[in-house]
């Protein structure tokens, strides 16, 4: 009934009709249309749609409800209350402690796990190192286990009574420490557990970065008589400058929003000594059913993080790793 030639002709006629319409002509004559390749947007459309549903919609909804009174009392009939929630957030006595905790948690974790990952990556990339693959496999273990299980194990290991850490300390004549229930040690414990959970990831990221440096550069450095330290400071570090900046800032962002370690180990306690913005926001939402206030805390947290990232990016140009 249809042949190819006919259908092709029909399509061309439709195309001509569309192209000859004044609106299309007008659009095509604009600078923007001429300059950019619009059809390529089709390729990224699926990703955009997924992001819209899973990311942008929740973010926008969070921002929206942060300006309402969406809580137990106004669960189905909440309404716009302006910046009340934000005023409340800024007036909360605990806010400054929580921000301080969040900074200690994020910076403390980052400055431990990122350099550790880098150093381990350098060690594992040494030429002539025996058992490289064995070490790599071993380093994968903490990361390969489900984090939830690992945290529960750490929780038992750090228990005041009967915890293996205190048992070992007692064996050497040292006093037991309330690792998770003392405000003095709780944050340190969280950072240590987080270090255990995340150093393999940073090790492997840095390994691939280090391996991307051309081997000829190292050979040249060797020929020029560079020692290990000088090779590190003159070859490896300058070439990985942006990767290091990117990984550090990425690590900081990830830790800032890392919820499960503080939540599962201390639930923000003792008191609010390990309460960070994300766990506090969770408490507002799911313990107090005050969803709008929780949303305000989340937006507040996001804004602080955004400022950090913009400033960090400005100085480190780390996003050039991505583009």
């Amino acid at each position: 009934m249809f042949n190819d030639k006919n259908s092709e002709g029909a399509i061309n006629r439709i195309k001509d009709l569309i192209n000859s319409s004044p609106i299309v002509k007008k659009i095509k004559s604009t600078k923007i249309y001429k300059k950019y390749e619009w059809r390529s947007i089709i390729y990224i459309l699926p990703v955009i749609l997924v992001l819209a549903f899973l990311n942008f919609y929740p973010i926008l909804y969070t921002i929206y409800i942060s300006f309402t009174n969406f809580n137990t009392k106004f669960f189905y009939n909440f309404y716009f209350i302006g910046i009340t929630n934000y005023v409340y957030v800024l007036q909360t006595n605990a806010l400054y402690t929580i921000i301080e905790n969040t900074l200690v948690w994020s910076i403390g974790s980052t400055i431990v796990m990122v350099p550790a990952g880098f150093i381990l990556a350098l060690i594992m990339n040494q030429r002539g190192l025996r058992g490289k693959y064995l070490y790599r496999s071993m380093f994968l273990f903490p990361w390969a286990f489900p984090a939830f299980i690992t945290i529960l194990i750490w929780s038992n290991m750090l228990a005041f009574n009967g915890g293996v850490v205190n048992e070992i300390m007692n064996f050497f004549g040292l006093k037991s420490i309330a690792w998770l229930t003392s405000p003095k040690y709780a944050m340190i414990s969280l950072i240590l557990v987080n270090f255990w959970l995340s150093f393999p990831y940073y090790t492997f990221v840095y390994t691939s970065a280090v391996q991307s440096i051309p081997q000829e550069l190292y050979e040249a450095a060797e020929m020029d008589g560079y020692g290990s330290i000088r090779t590190l400071t003159s070859v490896t570090l300058p070439l990985l400058r942006r990767q290091v900046a990117f990984i550090t800032i990425f690590g900081f962002i990830f830790t800032w929003n890392n919820f499960y370690v503080p939540f599962l180990l201390t639930s923000g306690g003792p008191g609010i000594s390990t309460q960070i913005l994300i766990t506090y926001s969770y408490q507002e939402a799911f313990s107090f059913d005050n969803f709008s206030l929780a949303a305000a805390y989340s937006v507040f947290s996001m804004l602080i993080l955004l400022v950090f990232v913009v400033v960090a990016n400005h100085y480190s140009k780390m996003m050039q790793v991505v583009y």
Binding site: T72, I81, D289
Partner: protein, 500 residues
């Protein structure tokens, strides 16, 4: 060689920066983000909660037609779940036209219900504690059963349990059991049961000291880690010292002298009387000490009784918490209950036939046989008066049952109003911190606790902020700063680009 590589790197960099590809990418990103925001904005605008009017009457389905209801929560694994399954089988045989789709209780929490309710996908019937359910009722997610149940049926339950499930005159659930904590003791150590707070302290001190001087494994009189408590066990002691959690206006009175005295007493168990070890981090620690004959008293509920019996055998007994001889008041544990509730049409799109079926289901699951089985198989104390009478007559010789009956005479109703929600986590935060630190500043802790609860209550009733003149000035100043900074940035960037 090294400098060459640097040149190469910077050359690549500049090529990459100035490339049309990069511009295209930028434009795409701008367009994509704008499109996403518009798209997301539209989704937000059109995402309105479903609004239905609750039906005021119930009707059974026409003969021959069937109705399906969804149920969340069959109870804890073990005795409760077994009784649920037995009763469910019997219910389905009695009502062949009702199909029950059940999800086991594990991992079903009121937060899960809340999310589902807001999306309109909550189950038709849900099992929860009375205080959690109170918050759900206040949110409009739970049906008011007052209009659906006749008074003779409601009166067949104990007044206390019905009060647990009543909020602002509305009955929002039917209790399946009732319980609270009592004072378990190991008869190996406790020869004379204390009835006053002072006697309890003295007895606990004597036991601790006796075993300390004798050497060997220490035995503590009364292990009590307030840091591990959510405020449930501790609430019993406020009335003993003349205090309470909330006043009649549903506002907290946690910084009253009586409440400070109550928390001081609990704090002193560890730090002054030393009848409890320091550093108790979980309830399990305390339970294990009691099971292993390492403690004389244990404040706990009947849910752990089977385990204690297994370890202590005939040495186990239970009695009521003591009274304070200075105030003459008894310690009154929260006597709460677990029960079934029916979701509102807003929360679950439940229809008339499903409401009818859900009511039949709840009536059946809380009837005489079900509650009697729950008592026998799971140790749950009944909410039905008739089953309570059975317990009293049939277990008169049982010392444990007698202890619970004695405790039941001195209890407080678990508040079901929303403000109670703010008591639990804040207790853990503030009083827990006091215990962990061992700083003895009970008064300031209770002030902070009070303020935290009050702050949440105030926030619940948040109204649109009335901006004063100064607020407007601050906002205007911030906006001006942002605009000027952005303009300066654009100008500087423009000049920089021109130079290049």
């Amino acid at each position: 060689m090294i400098s060459m590589s640097k040149d190469r790197e910077s050359g690549l960099e500049s090529r990459f920066h100035d490339s049309p590809d990069r511009n295209k990418l930028k434009v795409f990103l701008v367009i994509a983000v704008s499109a996403l925001f518009i798209f997301g904005g539209l989704l937000v605008i059109f995402d309105k909660p479903v609004s239905n009017n609750a039906p005021r009457f119930i009707a059974s389905p026409a003969s021959g037609s069937s109705v399906t209801i969804t149920v969340w929560g069959s109870g804890s694994p073990g005795g409760e779940a077994n009784v649920f399954n037995q009763t469910l089988a019997s219910f389905e045989a009695a009502y062949p036209n009702i199909t029950v789709t059940d999800s086991p209780a594990i991992n079903v929490a009121s937060t899960t219900f809340t999310s589902a309710a807001h999306a309109g996908t909550a189950p038709d019937v849900y099992r929860d504690t009375s205080d959690n359910a109170g918050a759900l009722f206040a949110s409009g997610s739970v049906l008011n059963l007052t209009t659906y149940l006749n008074s003779s049926y409601v009166n067949s339950f104990t007044t206390g349990t019905i009060s647990d499930w009543t909020l602002n005159g509305g009955l929002y659930g039917i209790p399946i059991n009732t319980n609270g904590v009592g004072l378990y003791y190991n008869m190996k150590y406790v020869k004379k049961v204390p009835t006053t707070v002072n006697q309890l302290i003295l007895c606990a001190e004597n036991i601790t000291e006796k075993h300390l001087t004798a050497g060997g494994k220490p035995v503590y009189g009364l292990p009590y880690g307030i840091g591990t408590d959510s405020g449930y066990r501790s609430a019993a002691w406020f009335p003993a010292f003349g205090g309470a959690m909330f006043n009649s206006k549903e506002l907290p009175v946690l910084n009253s002298q009586a409440d400070i005295n109550a928390i001081s007493f609990l704090y002193n168990l560890t730090y002054s009387y030393k009848v409890s070890p320091q550093g108790l981090t979980t309830m399990t620690d305390q339970e294990q000490m009691f099971e292993d004959n390492q403690s004389a008293f244990m404040i706990d509920g009947p849910w752990d009784q089977a385990l204690y019996t297994q370890y202590l055998g005939k040495d186990l007994n239970v009695t009521s918490l003591p009274y304070d001889s200075a105030t003459g008041h008894w310690a009154r544990p929260i006597w709460g209950s677990v029960g079934y509730l029916i979701s509102s049409p807003q929360a679950s799109n439940i229809n008339n036939h499903q409401i009818w079926a859900s009511l039949k289901f709840i009536e059946y699951m809380t009837n005489y046989t079900a509650q009697k089985n729950l008592f026998i198989q799971a140790g749950d104390f009944p909410s039905l008066i008739s089953v309570g009478n059975f317990v009293k007559t049939d277990t008169a010789q049982d010392p444990l049952a007698a202890g619970w009956i004695a405790q039941e005479a001195h209890t407080q109703i678990q508040p079901s109003f929303v403000n109670m929600n703010y008591y639990w986590p804040n207790f853990h935060t503030y009083v827990g911190n006091l215990y962990d630190n061992g700083t003895n500043n009970v008064s300031s802790t209770m002030n902070a606790f009070q303020n935290a609860v009050m702050s949440e209550i105030n926030q619940l009733n948040a109204k649109p902020t009335t901006l004063s003149a100064i607020d407007y000035e601050i906002i205007a100043a911030v906006v001006v700063i942002i605009v000027v900074a952005a303009a300066a940035y654009v100008v500087v960037l423009g000049k920089k680009n021109k130079k290049q």
